[in-house]
């Protein structure tokens, strides 16, 4: 108890700084995964990608990041065993942040494709199981989270496959691909706008506007989401009508003009992807911070119902944007040149599938890995014979890095926990 009242401000400040650093790291590194396909398929320039990422990562983190944050904050751990010594939970959460941030920095330096979600979940489980005992971990929830890491790539793969096949049937394999592209592409835009706004309305806004004067019924939520989707589709349609169609570029069955239309769609799905990434990944940085703030500001009481302090979501959102602004340019540049033969129609199928899966999963509060989901989606398009060559070796590396991140995150977190305990003199 003493520690929390004596060092309360310092603990919050430490957690806030590490949390901000973590968010910054997410912005600097993960954005490559979120925006890479758009830049790689030449639908967006690097500058455009950065601007879109900044706006929509922020929006996603701020508007829809609350649900996952709750899970990270209080879903993984069973708080009952911590009630006698809440300082363990405070120090543990700070350790988890330190551990995840260190691992992220090391992995980025070495060029390993790790997942921030996996590191933070591993870290939290690590300190809880070691510091207090196996029963301090809500294993059922952890099981669910780990299960989601298998289910979500699979799900997004299937969605990507279906989206790609539908685009083939409706647009590419028809008499007039160009006409059909103009006709059907706004529908995909509607889908992106609909999913994005539905999750924001149903799951996200309650964390932002929690004064109680905010109540939208289920039916109303769908209504607003449909309206938002239609709005997105109309704006998209306007931009499609502005495209200069170059008739000489189409010989017999050439799809240059069709791809131009998909490039417009890709802008929408890129927004969707950035939004999804922000909504899911901001929690990795601010979930532990939120837990620390909640305990300290309640004088050591662990309240299961405590709401999110108002400044936490924006802090995380700003952290991501700061990371983006400083390093995003460099990171995206290194990858932008890498891809050949990824056309907007493929990129869109993968991105829309991944974004929808992540957004839906964010709505359920499961912290999933954006990278895993996107890899699943890309493989889905590959299964539909849409991509020239996929490197399964790299896929394997990503999966391996994902598995080893869990124990490493846990071990680092335990070490930080021991160090912090010694520093603050907790027995």
């Amino acid at each position: 108890m003493d520690i929390i009242s004596t060092y309360g401000v310092m603990l919050i400040a430490t957690a806030a700084i590490v949390g901000f650093f973590m968010a910054w790291g997410i912005g600097a590194n993960d954005v490559a995964n979120a925006m890479g396909t758009s830049v790689g398929s030449k639908a967006l320039t690097i500058k455009q990608a950065i601007v879109i990422a900044m706006i929509f990562e922020f929006a996603g983190a701020y508007l829809a990041g609350g649900e996952v944050t709750s899970t990270i904050r209080k879903g993984i751990i069973d708080s009952a065993p911590f009630i006698p010594n809440p300082e363990y939970l405070v120090l543990g959460m700070i350790s988890a942040l330190f551990a995840a941030a260190i691992w992220l920095a090391v992995a980025s330096y070495l060029g390993w494709p790790v997942s921030t979600t996996h590191s933070i979940v591993g870290a939290i489980v690590g300190f809880a199981a070691f510091g207090v005992g196996m029963d301090a971990v809500n294993w059922a929830k952890v099981g669910g989270i780990v299960g989601s890491w298998i289910v979500t790539p699979l799900l997004s793969g299937i969605i990507a496959y279906l989206i790609f096949i539908s685009a083939q049937k409706l647009i590419f394999d028809t008499e007039e691909p160009l006409k059909n592209a103009k006709k059907y592409v706004p529908f995909y835009m509607f889908l992106a706008g609909f999913v994005m706004s539905l999750v924001t309305i149903k799951k996200g806004l309650k964390h932002v506007l929690k004064d109680g004067d905010f109540a939208i019924s289920g039916a109303e939520a769908y209504g607003y989401a449909i309206l938002a989707g239609i709005l997105v589709a109309l704006v998209g349609k306007y931009f499609i009508s502005k495209i200069k169609i170059d008739p000489t570029a189409d010989k017999e069955m050439h799809f240059n003009n069709v791809e131009k239309i998909f490039a417009v769609l890709m802008v929408v799905t890129a927004c969707c992807m950035a939004f999804a990434h922000g909504s899911n990944d901001v929690a990795n940085a601010i979930g532990p911070l939120a837990a620390v703030v909640s305990i300290v500001s309640n004088d050591g009481q662990i309240l299961p119902k405590a709401s999110l302090a108002w400044w936490i979501l924006p802090l995380g959102a700003f952290g991501i944007v700061a990371g983006l602004a400083l390093f995003g340019h460099r990171v995206i540049k290194t990858i932008g040149n890498g891809i050949t033969h990824l056309t907007p129609s493929r990129g869109f199928a993968a991105e829309l599938a991944a974004a929808s899966t992540v957004i839906i999963a964010s709505g359920t509060g499961l912290p999933i890995s954006t990278t895993q989901t996107l890899v699943g989606a890309v493989l889905g398009v590959g299964m539909a014979r849409g991509i020239a060559a996929l490197n399964l070796g790299v896929v394997r590396n990503i999966v391996v890095s994902w598995v080893i991140t869990l124990p490493i995150g846990a071990a680092l977190s335990i070490m930080c926990f021991l160090v912090l305990k010694a520093v603050f003199g907790v027995v």
């Binding site: 590419f172 799809f255 014979r385 020239a388 790299v394």
Partner: protein
């Protein structure tokens, strides 16, 4: 840095390389037209220059071929069979080799083309180059095939191109028969060894279309799966 992102998942496209390879191969084959025109005029300086260009293109094709083979490890996930790609590039490469051998043989012996058959000889050469051009056209549909996920209308379009390629090859067979007859008429007036080699060379030229047709049928097999 590159591996710290999903983009490492996208490997270099072997289909693009196949297109680049057939374009190079066809450039080599189509240089045979000016080459044989020079031979007809017995302008050996120009022929030497053209043979050099053909051999440079053949070398370039070899580099692409090796590159495709090196960049096609088993761990790749491709929309078509890996073995089909390797087979196809091998077939394509033979066209360039044949073009180089032809130019080399003519230049080496300073073998002339009898004036009586020059006209049909040139027509025969051009028709064979038509065949390689058609193979090039079909292979360059890979972009569009990928766009459509290797099915539907685009596959039918490529199949029509391959049928046309077969028709061109039939043409060259007819021309080959008639040019051999023409050569037979005048063969006693010529150096016997030159005649024998010329018969051989006519066969080789005809093989250009055969090889192009084989490229077409490999492509067809690839699409049939």
């Amino acid at each position: 840095m590159a591996s710290h992102s999903i983009l490492g998942v996208f490997a270099k496209s072997p289909l693009k390389a196949l297109e680049e390879h057939i374009n190079t191969v066809h450039s080599a084959a189509s240089l045979l037209k000016p080459f044989f025109e020079a031979v007809c005029k017995e302008n050996w300086t120009e022929a030497t220059e053209l043979r050099y260009q053909i051999s440079q293109l053949e070398k370039k094709a070899d580099v692409i071929k090796r590159d495709v083979r090196m960049n096609l490890p088993r761990g790749l996930f491709l929309p078509v069979e890996r073995t089909d790609i390797l087979e196809l590039i091998t077939q394509q490469d033979k066209i360039a080799n044949k073009a180089k051998d032809l130019a080399g043989r003519y230049l080496g012996r300073e073998l002339t083309i009898p004036p009586q058959i020059q006209e049909s000889f040139m027509a025969f050469v051009e028709r064979n180059i038509d065949a390689t051009a058609q193979a090039k056209k079909a292979i360059n549909e890979f972009d569009e095939l990928l766009e459509t996920g290797f099915k539907g209308r685009e596959v039918e379009l490529v199949e029509r191109m391959i049928t046309e390629l077969d028709a061109i090859e039939d043409d060259t067979d007819e021309m080959q028969i008639s040019i051999r007859l023409q050569l037979k008429e005048i063969e006693d007036q010529l150096n016997p060894i030159d005649v024998m080699v010329t018969y051989r060379m006519i066969e080789w030229i005809g093989e250009l279309a055969d090889l192009a047709e084989r490229v077409g049928s490999r492509l067809e097999l690839m699409l049939a799966r």
